[in-house]
């Protein structure tokens, strides 16, 4: 750990806020991306099942 002297609070605070916000953004993006993929996969599966059922009827 480098010697930060009287500026330790400002330096550590700045880095903590930066890393904290970046991690928060990554987590939010990950959760949203996963939710979007899950919804997309579900509706695509439903659509394909519907198509197969329609083909069988014919």
């Amino acid at each position: 750990m480098p010697e930060l002297g009287k500026y330790a609070g400002a330096v550590l605070g700045s880095w903590a806020i930066t890393l904290g916000l970046l991690v928060l953004l990554i987590a939010l993006t990950w959760v949203q991306a996963r939710a979007a993929k899950r919804k997309h996969d579900e509706i695509e599966a439903r659509r394909q099942a519907g198509q197969r059922a329609a083909e069988k009827k014919r």
């Binding site: 700045s14 928060l24 979007a36 919804k39």
Partner: protein, 259 residues
């Protein structure tokens, strides 16, 4: 076909390959292919810049150890402005060419740009307190940056408030163009007004204006890390937006079939 018409057609064909990448299917394929490499490169460059900047740079004569804040403050401020310009370019493409991927990419970039702006404002306040004796001053650069932050919030609120996605894309595109005034002011406020507490550029095309090499090299690496982080986040978020758009379209089709 006349020679002029042939040349015009050829010129158009030469440019058209660019627009092929605005096809959602092609974008999903390409972004899916490059994302793993992009994530790896981001971690590597980000990590190098941060570790070098925090652990292996000396104290500065005037700033002491507080100079280490430069590795998070300057790249985040630079990317806050750059992200807005990326949104403006994508918005103009949407307005002219009506490519949905460009509108969705602009939407995807907004939260990332907001976080960068917030980091720049917060770290600036933390750095300003010991240097200037105050957390905040109504200095031209600080004020224009605060307005840019409010523009980011307004941009995201506008997307969320309008149900029709094409109308939302149109209106937010206009907002992005209007907000570019403050993005330019944020960058050049110090030069325009030549007053206030904030210093001039830490990085510039003019080598004499730059910080010393011992700080400059890790700073450039940290900026590269922030840029790669931005591109990675925009790719991931745009992919999610494209999927949600497709879900919306298929749900509408299902409802119409049920009716």
């Amino acid at each position: 076909m006349s020679a002029l018409n042939q040349r015009t057609k050829q010129a158009r064909d030469n440019i058209n390959w660019i627009w092929e990448w605005a096809n959602p299917v092609k974008f999903m394929w390409f972004s899916g292919l490059v994302l793993p490499y992009l994530i790896g490169l981001t971690v590597l460059v980000f990590g190098t810049g941060f570790v070098w900047g925090f652990f292996f740079t000396p104290e500065a004569e005037n700033f002491g150890s507080s100079v280490k804040i430069i590795y998070v403050h300057v790249p985040s401020a630079f990317m806050a402005i750059s992200a807005w310009f990326m949104m403006v370019v994508a918005s103009v493409i949407w307005l002219i060419r009506r490519h949905h991927v460009s509108a969705l990419a602009a939407k995807a970039a907004a939260p990332v740009g907001t976080v960068f702006t917030l980091i720049a404002l917060a770290t600036g306040a933390l750095w300003g307190q010991p240097m200037w004796g105050t957390w905040w001053a109504w200095d031209p650069r600080l004020t224009s940056f605060l307005i840019l932050f409010l523009f980011y919030l307004g941009y995201m609120a506008l997307w969320a408030a309008i149900e029709n996605p094409d109308t939302a894309a149109d209106l937010t595109a206009v907002l992005a163009i209007v907000g570019s005034v403050f993005a330019i002011l944020s960058r050049y406020a110090v030069n325009f007004w030549n007053q206030g507490l904030h210093q001039g550029a830490s990085l510039s095309m003019d080598a004499e204006e730059n910080v010393a090499d011992v700080y400059w090299i890790p700073l450039v690496i940290a900026m590269g890390g922030f840029m790669l982080f931005f591109v990675t986040m925009v790719f991931i978020r745009t992919r999610a937006e494209i999927r949600l758009r497709r879900v919306h379209a298929l749900e509408l089709r299902e409802r119409m079939a049920d009716a």
